[in-house]
């Protein structure tokens, strides 16, 4: 039996791409692509291929998009890294270490080892991005722990997440929220790294995907730790999945009287234009774009009827847009537009 596939269809339907994919102005990017490529110091041989791809696909990205994504990721990775360093008492800023001293004393050794492993990865991500950004012609800004307010107070030090410095369950909730935000942020930006025919962009894309899945591992581990501390909260899955969307997907049932601002933040973190509860996914099969509703799939008979709604949301992690991510993290970062800090 021959199962080799039929001839490839790779025609692009501009009407569909224009309608279904929210992209920025292709003309602007097309006009500047050549100069940006040159500025990025990429091999000249890649320019014609990249331009050919641009002409073929109206929604293609440019190296400027890649650089913007890398710089954005650099800020987020610094935020995560400095957060863990403060929690673990290894920040270069004594005040950050001191702030988390009460909760640090409450962290069991097993969880501490997990947090140390996670922090190590965040540092590696920071270092990796620091090395890659110049390859795309970008300047790396200096970011320190002083740039962050882990209470979410935008510099006041008394923001809605302040309880993370004294309550272990609150700290773990905040940690999970950071990690799931990271997963969703990378997922939302991956498409901006897709430049057909640009090998440098491919390397950036692949690295971003590989970092993205590491963030998902972190989130899953934190969810498992939290479930073990609160066995009755089945929103927190032993599989590490995100079930449903909005604040309910955070599994915050063991936080007494969560501040309204925290609930609002969790609604953003697990909500957004494409919330974690989304079941509608668009695929492009070469000739047309099709929206598939996972909730309407056949062939799910082996899944208990009562579990199907949960199954079709947990099976897909969803993206956040850049603007959505900024609205989530803004309170944790002291504003400095000159250095690109939101």
């Amino acid at each position: 039996m021959d199962n080799s596939q039929q001839p490839i269809l790779d025609a692009i339907d501009p009407e569909i791409t224009g309608r279904l994919v929210s992209r920025r102005d292709a003309l602007r990017r097309g006009a500047s692509a050549g100069t940006r490529l040159a500025a990025a110091g990429l091999a000249l041989a890649s320019v014609p291929a990249a331009l050919a791809a641009l002409s073929r696909e109206a929604f293609a990205q440019t190296p400027a998009d890649v650089l913007d994504v890398l710089k954005f990721a650099f800020i987020l990775e610094n935020l995560e890294n400095e957060f863990y360093r403060a929690v673990l008492g290894t920040s270069a800023v004594a005040a950050q270490n001191n702030a988390f001293a009460p909760v640090r004393a409450l962290i069991p050794d097993a969880a501490k080892q997990a947090l140390q492993q996670i922090q190590k990865h965040e540092q590696q991500h920071v270092d990796f991005l620091k090395a890659v950004i110049p390859q795309f012609g970008g300047a790396v800004v200096t970011i320190t722990a002083n740039d962050f307010d882990f209470t979410g107070g935008n510099g006041s030090g008394t923001g809605p997440f302040a309880r993370a410095t004294t309550e272990l369950d609150f700290l773990l909730l905040a940690t999970q929220a950071f990690e799931d935000t990271g997963v969703r942020a990378y997922k939302g930006q991956a498409g901006r790294l897709l430049i057909n025919g640009n090998d440098a962009a491919d390397v950036a894309l692949e690295s971003a995907l590989r970092i993205h899945s590491v963030e998902a591992r972190h989130a899953a581990k934190i969810r498992r730790i939290r479930r073990q501390r609160n066995p009755s909260d089945t929103t927190l899955r032993f599989s590490g999945y995100v079930r449903g969307g909005g604040a309910a997907a955070a599994g915050a049932g063991n936080i007494t009287n969560p501040p309204a601002e925290v609930v609002a933040a969790l609604n953003l973190i697990y909500g957004g234009a494409t919330p974690e509860s989304n079941t509608q996914h668009v695929v492009f099969n070469g000739t047309s774009a099709v929206t598939i509703d996972a909730a309407a799939l056949g062939g799910l008979g082996v899944i208990d009827a009562g579990d199907r709604t949960a199954a079709v949301t947990q099976a897909f992690d969803e993206p956040l847009t850049k603007d959505e991510v900024i609205s989530i993290v803004k309170g944790f970062i002291k504003d400095d537009p000159a250095r690109g800090l939101p």
């Binding site: 039996m1 021959d2 596939q5 590491v214 996972a294 799939l297 082996v302």
Partner: protein, 279 residues
């Protein structure tokens, strides 16, 4: 139930020197089973099948084995077909795990984990099949070697080890294939799958780390995360080699070679693989 003769899958293949990627514990286990002449097909494994139309691999009739599955990776469709193979195998495997006698000996926490895994992979399988439409792979459940499958299902340890391998191959395949996709919407869907697979992979290593790994850090251990903080990654050819190494697919299910055309230079260029012997 629609059970076939176990001889069909040529179980000696699993002991072949070229098939070393699978944990040696399971190889020796299978060997011991064979040597002892006690290849009992674990009646307990099938006890959950309540009617004759269902098998351990899922509801409905199991189709005949298929042969000669080939992949042309010069399009997003071709890459999604590779994804479809992985999702079919994962869904069938976890369906069998949850139906197995061994499953009843799992802790409640582990049972929840594996039911979640099964449910997610079944959703993934049906989603990809629907997305591919007429270009979907055939149902490969009939090509699964029941002797090898039952060897894995015989113990918690071998089930979790095999699950870790599946999930890490799944993560590595998606991480390696993303750069070849040509449409951002398809890349987004692949990303939606990838982080879910990574959550599984981390949870499984947390439940039972590979030998020598610290139980508290194994979820993202130094053996699966490189010095740049990046996860496992495999090119498509290596993905298929890992799949073949499990012995779960009968010989001939995949064409030889299984990839008739790799990605074009415009899609992207291969990068070095990163994957441990025992994830």
């Amino acid at each position: 139930m629609a059970m076939r003769e176990p001889e069909r899958g040529e179980p000696m293949v699993i002991a072949g020197a070229g098939e070393l990627m699978f944990p040696s514990t399971r190889r020796s286990f299978v060997r011991r089973l064979l040597a002892g002449g006690t290849v009992v097909l674990l009646p307990s494994v099938f006890s959950a099948c309540s009617d004759d139309d269902d098998s351990i691999l899922g509801p409905g009739d199991i189709p005949d084995p298929v042969t000669g599955i080939a992949f042309d990776l010069r399009s997003d469709v071709g890459i999604f077909r590779l994804l479809h193979l992985n999702e079919q195998l994962e869904a069938a495997f976890y369906t069998a795990v949850v139906s197995s006698g061994t499953f009843s000996s799992f802790s409640a926490d582990e049972q929840e984990l594996f039911v979640d895994l099964r449910n997610t992979e079944v959703v993934h399988r049906e989603f990809v099949r629907t997305a591919l439409g007429s270009q979907a792979l055939p149902d490969v459940r009939g090509s699964i070697d029941l002797t090898v499958l039952n060897g894995i299902l015989a113990s918690r340890t071998s089930i979790i080890a095999a699950s870790r391998l599946f999930e890490h191959v799944g993560v590595a395949a998606l991480n390696g294939a993303g750069k070849y996709l040509q449409d951002a919407r398809n890349l987004l869907v692949a990303g939606k799958f990838a982080s879910v697979e990574a959550r599984h992979a981390a949870a499984l290593r947390d439940v039972l780390p590979p030998a020598g790994q610290n139980a508290n850090t194994a979820f993202a251990g130094d053996d699966i995360i490189d010095a740049n903080g990046r996860d496992v990654k495999l090119e498509a050819g290596a993905v298929l080699a890992k799949v073949a190494s499990t012995g779960l697919l009968m010989a001939g299910t995949l064409a030889n070679p299984p990839i008739t055309a790799g990605p074009t230079a415009t899609q992207g260029v291969p990068t070095p693989d990163f994957f441990p012997a025992n994830p």
